[in-house]
Symmetry: C2
Subunit: 615 residues, 2 copies
């Protein structure tokens, strides 16, 4: 296993010699098919690592893909189908050498929730709709990528994602109750299922529950329990320890299946198993999508696109940076979209990058897309030869894999952190969480995105406007409320801490005029513009109005330290000419000196309105 640890202890080699430098002017074709970049430059030294990473990821993917398919209300082979063509296509088009594409927890939940509302899981119509949905997801991602609209996904803020994930984790865990307890739990909403489970708790199948509990225990032990501590004490390198999480899935799969098969628990104790899985690769078929179906599937498709891409790109970005590589979010959209199109061709369901799997892939040493190609080959072999072995695999084992996988998504400490740091972000988290849990996941994510945007807009619509004054003897101007400053009765200086645009232009105008209305002695108003990054036409109009209103009130407006682009825009709009070029100052200090000079010339008696200032 020296291959896995050769970079240790400090990861130096990966940093010093980037395996997959992206910004070396790729050709147009290379840009759209990154494989053409890394394959010709492939270094033989990377081969063993890519091979081993591919195999290890496949070992994790076999049970995981079947477990997520079960979560999505689909037969296990659909999960396996989602791991061949999609992974190969991503290897061809993706810009990350570490991202492991395939079935994912939240995507599976979204499929169940969205399509489950239109058809009963297990029916041919359900499968048909899932394939149509996968096709839609693929098309949307590819189009967003080609239009280079990947940026749009940044509008999902971290609190929205966290609140959503936490609620989704609960929804997913509750959805697995029926497999863990071994009886049919009625209801769709979380509270309905919880109530049904509690009401019929007597129908629990003890053997099923026992298998589930033991599986969960084993998985948790591997994940973060005593086993990890033990391995650490034994001096096993961290990289190797992480890999045990891949093997843990394999362990519960083998144990659960062997035990059930040997004791015929399915017959003797009524443990539900996976049963027969068709052997052989999926046959390709072009998906059909009616306009009516597209309409009803659209919200689900958008949710899957948002969540899938936000998660995948976050993972890919984090892993790439460890190797001093860059991923291209728009190309990632295209690659993920193509992977989903491939999934729809092979009668599979939507795929995305999986966090745990990608971590394992990376830790196992994946350097390029070759690792993914190896994984895809392994999965083909599994489908071609090994599916009969899964006949006795208990559904409870798969449910346990799902439950442990998503248990880490529930993150109440993040909510506490947000509450402490920023109330508005906490509010967003909470609203997303509640709506996701109480209504559905599409409504949850929509609520979160819209609310976070509204809160941002509301914040920017009420910019901080502080009065500033000179710190005596310096050129520094600071908040008069927090510092001892020099001020003059006839001059007031304000600093605006926000770019000016339509939503706050009026507010600024109001605030400034309020200050002036409250001080009859003011004759000059200096606006410090150093924190104003842009102005739009509404803001310029407000500035024009402000200037006129101030003039009518006998007050002159000055601007200090405007940025170059702001100044250019103001000039084009005629504002500089209107206010007078001598009223624009490069710094607060220059503004004050210019005003002092004028006050001294015009009149010695103060406060006295002189003709030249009243206009």
């Amino acid at each position: 296993m020296s291959v896995l640890t050769q970079d240790a202890p400090d990861g130096e080699s990966a940093i010093a010699q980037p395996a997959r430098q992206i910004h070396i002017k790729p050709s147009r074709l290379q840009r759209y098919i990154p494989l053409l970049r890394w394959l010709p430059a492939y270094r033989r030294a990377d081969l063993p690592q890519d091979l081993i990473a591919g195999v290890i990821t496949a070992i994790m993917l076999v049970p995981q893909s079947m477990a997520y398919a079960q979560l999505a209300g689909l037969p296990p082979q659909v999960g396996l189908y989602a791991t061949i063509l999609p992974i190969a296509v991503y290897a061809l088009l993706g810009t990350s050498g570490q991202l492991s594409v395939g079935p994912a927890a939240i995507t599976s939940l979204a499929v169940l929730a969205g399509v489950g509302a239109l058809a009963a899981p297990g029916t041919p119509r359900y499968l048909e709709l899932v394939v149509a949905l996968t096709f839609m997801v693929g098309i949307i991602k590819v189009v967003l990528g080609i239009l280079r609209l990947g940026m749009a996904l940044n509008f999902v803020s971290a609190p929205v994602l966290s609140g959503f994930m936490s609620a989704a984790a609960i929804v997913i865990m509750v959805s697995q109750l029926k497999h863990l307890l071994g009886f049919n739990v009625a209801g769709k909403a979380v509270h309905e299922q919880l109530y049904a489970a509690a009401a019929h708790i007597g129908e629990t199948n003890p053997a099923t529950l026992a298998i589930a509990l033991v599986s969960i225990l084993i998985l948790l032990m591997f994940k973060r329990g005593s086993l990890q501590t033990l391995l650490e004490k034994l001096g096993v390198p961290p990289r190797l320890r992480t890999l045990t999480s891949s093997l843990s899935l394999f362990v519960v799969l083998v144990l659960g299946t062997a035990l059930t098969a040997m004791l015929r628990l399915d017959v003797s104790l009524g443990v539900k198993t996976v049963g027969e899985i068709p052997t052989g690769l999926p046959s390709l078929a072009s998906p059909s999508l009616s306009l009516a179906d597209a309409g009803v599937l659209a919200p689900t498709a958008m949710t899957i696109v948002f969540i899938g891409v936000v998660e995948s790109v976050s993972i890919a970005r984090a892993l790439a940076s460890k190797h001093r590589q860059r991923i291209d979010p728009d190309q990632e959209l295209i690659a993920l979209g193509a992977a989903n199109l491939a999934a729809s061709l092979s009668a599979a369901y939507p795929v995305a990058g999986g966090l745990a799997r990608s971590m394992v892939n990376n830790e196992a040493g994946a350097r390029t897309g070759l690792a993914s190609l190896v994984t895809a080959t392994m999965m083909s072999a599994t489908l071609a030869f090994l599916t009969p072995l899964f006949y006795y695999l208990p559904q409870a084992v798969l449910a346990s894999i799902v439950v442990v996988a998503v248990s880490g998504l529930f993150d109440l400490s993040e909510a506490r952190r947000l509450y402490r740091l920023q109330r508005s972000d906490f509010l967003t988290w909470l609203a997303t969480f509640i709506v996701t849990l109480g209504v559905n996941i599409e409504a949850g994510i929509l609520t979160g995105v819209v609310l976070s945007l509204l809160l941002f807009l509301w914040r920017t619509s009420r910019p901080r406007v502080v009065e500033i004054g000179r710190i005596p003897g310096t050129h520094i101007f600071l908040n008069v409320d927090h510092h001892d400053t020099e001020t003059r009765e006839s001059v007031v200086a304000l600093r605006v801490d926000e770019s000016l645009y339509f939503a706050n232009a009026r507010y600024l105008e109001d605030r400034v005029l309020e200050v002036v209305a409250a001080r009859a002695t003011v004759r000059h108003l200096v606006l410090n513009c150093s924190a104003i990054n842009s102005v739009d036409t509404t803001a310029i109009e407000a500035l024009h109005a402000l200037r006129e209103e101030l003039r009518d009130a006998g007050v002159e407006l000055h601007l200090a330290s405007p940025k170059r682009w702001v100044l250019t825009r103001l000039e084009q709009a005629g504002f500089i000419a209107a206010v007078g070029p001598d009223h624009i100052h490069r710094s607060m200090d220059e503004a004050f000196r210019a005003i002092e000079a004028r006050l001294t010339i015009s009149s010695g008696q103060f406060p006295h309105r002189t003709k030249d200032m009243a206009i």
Copy 2:
């Protein structure tokens, strides 16, 4: 008329002695009922001006209110009813002494478009719905005002308002074709009406058209034509000249009515007249509003609230500032809401502040709400005694008043200006214009608001990130692309020109990592934060990720010139501790000096990665 001009030539007295200073700590009651502030402090000197302004505004309001009622598809008395209680209530609660509340052009159009889709104008059901709508408008405004949500109206940007007004002007003018031509023009959409008018142009009533053309000619002459030039040459003061626009409406009303009555044009030539108007004040009745009606009227109500308040507050603000007074937007919302509630009680229709009327009111010398009380009294007298005089008033005269009033709203030069200044604002104008004209006014304003917000968000989601370098021999750091700067191979300095929030945090992270990925020699990255006004939790997370990613790539992150609030937020989130307090610098200069010192200590050979920097 010396009273009207006594402030001339420079408006000195109004400025030196504010008539209605608002910010002198009013009591709670005085805040909600501004009349309690200005009435006890009323100066006898203001009385003649307020009286004359009230009378002159009433002279304008009589024909205008009937004209706008006709535009709204309502009988003329409904317009007159809207001028008594609503005006009196506004005088009690409003914070502007100049704003003239009453029927307004766009509001009238919105009533016709919104309620006209639910019931035929002229039917009792139409009137019932209009009163219910008025009640809703009042409630919404009052609630917004009490919740102090007046700020929400700032989200209507100037381009949206301008595009909307321009389209509305066309819609209004086309809607008046039937009155101007004297035959029934079928259709609701603009293009339908234009087509119908053209197809049946032979049915035009020549006498009606003649009356309309002469009226329009007279009105335009008074407004901006040769008469104004003549008066100017004769040395008539500008204030007095503006008042002629009030009288012009009265002139066409008297001329048109007298001519029609004397020649019995209604009988001889088929000129349609206003006919019988019920004499007497409106009887008060509480409006009824069913939940179903509220649902269908909601979009229209919201449109009227938005447009009415945005316009009214703009006018009030502009006029108040001329007198160095301040208006309180939230109190204005309450006052306008109460005025609409009063309108719904007196079987009238929605009211708002009118631009032309308020200008006249102001020019005529209105100082306080007393002017409005005088207007309301005059209107009561009109309704009580004068309505029989309007029997022969041709509808074409009223239509002419509407057409001339709104002709100034169409503003193509604004569109040209926006095109030149800012493409995104032009796009907003155009979209609002097209949708208002082609679909309807609710869709138009909604399109404009949503589009302008999305464009703003899109802009802020891609902040300017510029590389800066030291201007040799100074402490000034400027854009390396525009200036000759000193740079060092191992250090890169970036300035971000935007506050950091969820929509741009990832983008910044990408941009920074791109720069680092492209330069293998970089060991220190300095982020200039002077233009960052705020950071949210997503941005802090991105900064954390950025720091880790840079660390993994052997690059240290430094922050220079962060603002106090940003620093506090970063500290609370543990970022300062993570990045190291010695990596936060008060200025770019200090940052560079600190880095230089470390580079010199750690190694003479450059570029060579030293252990302490790789971490």
